[in-house]
Symmetry: C2
Subunit: 121 residues, 2 copies
């Protein structure tokens, strides 16, 4: 078994999809730097890299809604990751379980699991 | 219900995750241009934009392994899409059902569903 060399490309980041390991729900997509991947694997907690804030962050560091990472998968081109996670609370800063709580037509199909004003006050 | 304005950003592309609508399996990630999204919604078949070939493509156009799109979801920032699809055959050019058939440690956890040499000869 040979460790897969992730292709971080020109900008040094790959997209990572976080999926609920139990239910299969796709929770969010964020970007991962080599350091974020290393931290994720070392701690078992999902880490990402914020392109807007230009920094490494641990998911749930502020809200407590951490993601326990069961497994990290890599796609065929090794330029996208899949985190299989146990999500505490909700993944989305809007209070929804998943960030994908709307159809492109604008229908709300998601589940609100916490009050963002109470969490991020 | 108001249609969501997708934020295609500077490069005019957003990542789109394709998920099996039935089983919840995450199949692949590819990029989508405004035209690819339009074609997807018009035809009900998943279209993407190839960054390497710099062109719009219909998934399965060569292999026949098309994706029938049940629903298009948008994330909270409207800069990532989720296609819920019925996948014919396999999503991956390697013959696997999903492109995420390996762990980062290199373990093969995926299912081979077709012989790529027979399909792409």
């Amino acid at each position: 078994m040979t460790e897969i060399a992730v292709d971080f490309g020109e900008d040094g980041l790959v997209p990572a999809v976080a999926q609920d390991a139990e239910t299969g729900e796709v929770l969010m997509l964020a970007y991962v730097s080599p350091e974020a991947l290393e931290q994720t694997r070392e701690t078992g907690l999902a880490h990402y890299y914020s392109r807007s804030r230009d920094e490494l962050w641990q998911k749930g560091g502020t809200s407590g809604h951490v993601q326990h990472v069961d497994e990290v998968r890599v796609d065929c081109d090794a330029d996208t990751l899949l985190y299989l996670v146990d999500q505490e609370g909700g993944a989305c800063h809007t209070g929804h379980r998943s960030c994908f709580y709307r159809t492109v037509e604008g229908e709300n199909v998601g589940e609100q699991v916490f009050d963002p004003e109470a969490v991020y006050e």
